[in-house]
Amino acid sequence: MKATARSLLVAAAFALASPLSHYAAPALAGHPGLKGHSLDAEGVKAVLLGKRVTIGDTRVVLVIAKSSDVQETFLKSSVAMTTAQFQNHWRRLFMTGGGSAPKIVESEADAAKLAAETPGAVVIGDSATLGDLALLSAP
């Protein structure tokens, strides 16, 4: 009886853990052409804030979602900004001749789709759903 109960508990734990792991790993990814490149924490910050404008010889094109929990978490941990503050940072740059503005799309899925089509694109996404994108910074 005890063994059956333990088995049920373990199964339930796996059942709960499996979907949760789907959302738990924000990562920085890029266009498939950026495969082979990787960024440490400093590099991630430099790329996201526009202080580093190329990866290899390719110009970085940031793609962000208007709203995304994964993106919000990643931005807070990597550059200490909310999505709104991050957009303000970039607006200040591109409106004053200091950088090229990120492309902004509705959702995280749209961002991943656009990144897959845009050479040099860098996007924040769930590591479990990156598809063919290049993983630039592991969670």
Partner: protein
């Protein structure tokens, strides 16, 4: 005051303002993206704003504010293109702020960037001047809750003088590993000036003699910002200098007009800055000092010396409450002192102090249109200009007054 040419067309201004406002609102309703528009790899961005300013009493601060004025608007359109380490771009800009700007479209910035490495870049053309936390973003309403940035550091009347220079700039970001990183900028160039600009009135504020020519040989300086290991905290220092800054003036003494040259070998500007972003809060503090020692020539001989010393600071806080509302507040203080050596009879120059307490609310109506409302209590009137066109002698100013500012901005 009413004889000033800028006042002649005042009846047309509300119509212009209303048209701009309607245009911006319509564009905002039609546009769904909050970022720049991209067309054939060319990024386009811009904004248009219309504001209203009114204050109690009879001080005229940022235009004819004692009677209320719609002469407070800015608009710009920019385009840029980038490939590899290169980027080119330009922005056209127009404004009306009281007597200044006059809705003339000017080249605001136009640059070529080459940044081969994170630590090294080169920017040339008409370049935004790096000074403090916000000088490069003076008119970007969408990045802050304030209608007016703290005027002790970012005087809106000096925009055409402070915002950009013609020349070149080195810039980059140097990693300090666990100690954070350094952003540096060093520049050299020139600032074209006009006697109809706000800067001309600012540098003519000691004695209201008219300037007939104003200019400098060069402007140079730079900024150094330390992005500290404490997330969201950055500290900086900015310096700029104007070399051989000269003003030709006509002085009136005892019924005679005398041509003068006021020449400043070097006008120094220092500014210390700190900004801390945590959660939905942004805190900032900046404190600066300007000093200049000028020789006044009549003909070829130096007649007297003018010493100028200006100290200023502000402290601000802003908080995003929700997606539609952001609140902010600041205290801004300035103290300008001009001393004539030897002192001239009848020219007793007072200490010009002003403290500004501001409360702001920003409402995001949609992704592209925002509205701001701001109240100021101002103690002192040291920042008013006393010019021939708008005489405001120190003794006749209101020392305690309220200013209301409202502004609607469309941006894309």
């Amino acid at each position: 005051m009413s004889s000033h040419p800028a006042h002649l067309s005042s009846s047309q201004r509300p119509r212009t303002a209303t048209a701009l406002l309607a245009f911006a609102t319509l564009l905002g309703l039609a546009c769904s993206a909050s970022a720049a528009v991209t067309w054939n790899d060319i990024q386009l961005g811009g904004f248009a704003s219309q504001g209203y300013l009114v204050n109690t009493g009879h001080n005229d601060y940022l235009g004819e504010t004692s009677e209320g004025t719609f002469d407070f608007r800015e608009y710009a359109l920019n385009a840029s293109w980038s490939k590899g380490a290169f980027r080119i771009g330009a922005q056209a800009f127009g404004q009306k702020l009281g007597d200044y700007g006059d809705d003339k479209i000017k080249l605001d910035w136009a640059t070529v960037d080459y940044q081969p490495a994170q630590w090294f870049g080169l920017r040339a053309g008409r370049v935004k001047m790096p000074r403090g936390l916000y000088n490069e973003a003076l008119d970007i309403d969408s990045v802050r809750p304030f209608v007016l940035l703290p005027q002790s550091v970012y005087d809106a009347r000096l925009r055409d003088f402070n915002s950009a220079f013609n020349g070149g700039m080195l810039f980059g970001n140097i990693s300090l590993k666990s100690a954070g990183s350094l952003d540096y900028r060093a520049f050299y160039g020139d600032i074209p000036m006009s006697v109809t600009s706000g800067a001309s009135d600012y540098f003519n504020n000691d004695v209201p003699f008219p300037n007939t020519r104003i200019g400098m040989d060069a402007v140079y300086g730079g900024s150094l910002f330390w992005n500290t290991p404490k997330a969201g905290l950055r500290l900086g220092y900015s310096y700029s200098a104007f070399e051989n800054f000269g003003v030709d003036r006509i002085a009136y003494y005892g019924g005679n007009s005398i041509p003068l040259l006021k020449l400043t070998p070097t006008h120094h500007r220092h500014l210390l800055s700190a900004e801390y972003t945590t959660g939905d809060w942004i805190f900032a503090i900046e404190a600066g000092r300007e000093t200049a020692r000028s020789d006044v020539y009549t003909g070829t001989s130096a007649g007297s010396v003018v010493e100028f010393d200006s100290d200023y600071f502000y402290v601000s806080a802003a908080r995003r409450i929700n997606a539609r509302l952001e609140l902010g507040a600041y205290i801004s203080y300035s103290d300008d002192l001009t001393v004539l050596i030897p002192a001239a009879d009848g020219l007793d120059l007072p200490r010009l102090e002003q403290t500004d307490y501001a409360l702001s609310a920003r409402f995001d109506l949609n992704d592209n249109v925002l509205f701001k409302l701001e109240g100021h209590y101002i103690d002192g009137a040291g920042k008013l200009f006393d010019t021939l066109a708008r005489p405001q002698p120190f003794a006749a100013r209101d020392d305690s007054w309220f200013l209301l500012a409202a502004k609607v901005t469309f941006s894309f």
